[in-house]
Symmetry: C2
Subunit: 348 residues, 2 copies
Amino acid sequence: MLENKDTSKTDISQLGEFGLIEHLTKDFKVEQKTTVKGIGDDAAVIESHGQLVVTTDLLVEGVHFDLSYMPLKHLGYKAVMVNLSDVYAMNATPSQITVSIAVSNRFPVEALEELYAGIKTASNIYGVDVVGGDTSSSTSGLLISITAIGQAKKDDLTYRDGAKENDLLVVTGDLGAAYLGLQILEREKQVFKVNPKSQPDLDPYTYLIERQLKPEARKDIVKLLSDLEVKPTSMIDISDGLSSEIIHICNNSKVGCNLYEEKIPLDPQVISTCEEFNMDSTTIALSGGEDYELLFTVRTEDFPKIKANPHLTVIGHMTHEKEGVHLITRANTKIPLVARGWNALENE
Amino acid sequence: MLENKDTSKTDISQLGEFGLIEHLTKDFKVEQKTTVKGIGDDAAVIESHGQLVVTTDLLVEGVHFDLSYMPLKHLGYKAVMVNLSDVYAMNATPSQITVSIAVSNRFPVEALEELYAGIKTASNIYGVDVVGGDTSSSTSGLLISITAIGQAKKDDLTYRDGAKENDLLVVTGDLGAAYLGLQILEREKQVFKVNPKSQPDLDPYTYLIERQLKPEARKDIVKLLSDLEVKPTSMIDISDGLSSEIIHICNNSKVGCNLYEEKIPLDPQVISTCEEFNMDSTTIALSGGEDYELLFTVRTEDFPKIKANPHLTVIGHMTHEKEGVHLITRANTKIPLVARGWNALENE
């Protein structure tokens, strides 16, 4: 689909490396007051008087995304979200990103323009400047490497290791939808292979597909926590599934946890699609991944501040390390959580 | 050569993504006082009270390196150098790096250990902490994406756009050796293909090969300039060849330049190897690339401070923009420089 056989498309080699990066980033403007120098020198220059956070993520074609159902514009947007989510998980505000791509010559310049349009949209909405990057040819496929930089006051930063016994475990939004969106897209891809004329009815899955193709990082939560005057004792973003992130917090903070199955927030589309696919919705929420929600712990005295908020759900509480990390099921049985909740449940 | 058929080697999949990055970075210690938090949270945290520089570079197998003659340990070292060189070109001091790799399953864990040993050696020698990164599988080959962060006082930073008419153009070290080193290695690869038992005599080329396989970023120059109390009016590192970098400075600073062929510093091995290969040494110096020397401009009144220094060579001076960018040959003819000096000379 993306082979550059259409002669109306522009071959990357026509621009060369310098020409390509200049072409792709010419509309990117410096808008953050902390950006002293953006693209165009040996390095970008950033003003900071405090603590910066730095995080980096790779997205590799055939591993993290499939261009047969992921539009390049969405891919650009999502690649930025994946990184910003890590910045928000530190309770920091992202301010700059660098974007490097390695790309094979099957991509015409117009395809990369789509990718960068998504990156630009994300940057505008989330208030970050693209301050640097690199482009290279690759022998196969597309790879995107983004580094995000964020700023925070020292006292606002939240780490994975600050949770204490009796703290409440809180999650934003709902879980499992992105994973199910991927299953739907994979199913439609197989159907399309057999019958290219089939017209799928995706109406029952719109939320799931949007969560997979156009996730949003929880910028609003950093502001909300600040407005509520709640500083989480620990925080992490949910990229690999709830159970794996809970275990990260527990291991780093040296605490245990009781997670209550009945409390896990699920969208109605997740519940109905799990029924259709004959999947267990708790398993999907625990192990699905790519939700980019935030998981954090707060002191019990902060409960009144968060309890009425529709974005926040208390799903458990932290215990003594010796008590271990458990899921308390609806039937009130206690199941040990392991990093891959999926296997954990299957093995019980 | 690197196919993982040796059962004594460890397949990457045995460790998994988390296990792999933990395994590769377990010996990396935080040593910089500006590193508040290194590997192990959603993001690294860096203390800064001033201006930071950020730069990123991709190295792609089959594009930037050939593992048939580039040992993985050297590759790790060089990947760090390429990035630090950009930080020094801002007259800043690198303090942290993030390292992301995408790698196919033909690489056993032991190969990646070699790569990371080179990264660790470079980090120790140059005083930077590895504070983050990502690992991913790839469908083919090895890709390394490094982001380097450096710190500087605002007034010390040097950009590409500060050169003024009459400023002197200065280069560190000598030029062209890394490119010739690559030619020697390519030649030996071809010889090896025909006759695997041939024992090459590489003695006449040791400096060239070292410059290609184990370049050093010019950490010493930032200190030297500070000691000499010289602040360059502009600076850039030489990654793509002298002519292309001169043109970057001229375009950004809106000045012209006269570059004197007879002043270009060349190592004796460069001269003798150019004679052997029947190549023009000036062309190699102008277009060879990968020298990772620094090119900068200073005010004429700073000349007494730099003139006796064996690391620094004045190779030209800046002119009015309208005069253009020229090479003044040994025969005293004036040739316009273009970004690829190679073509420039061939076309005359």
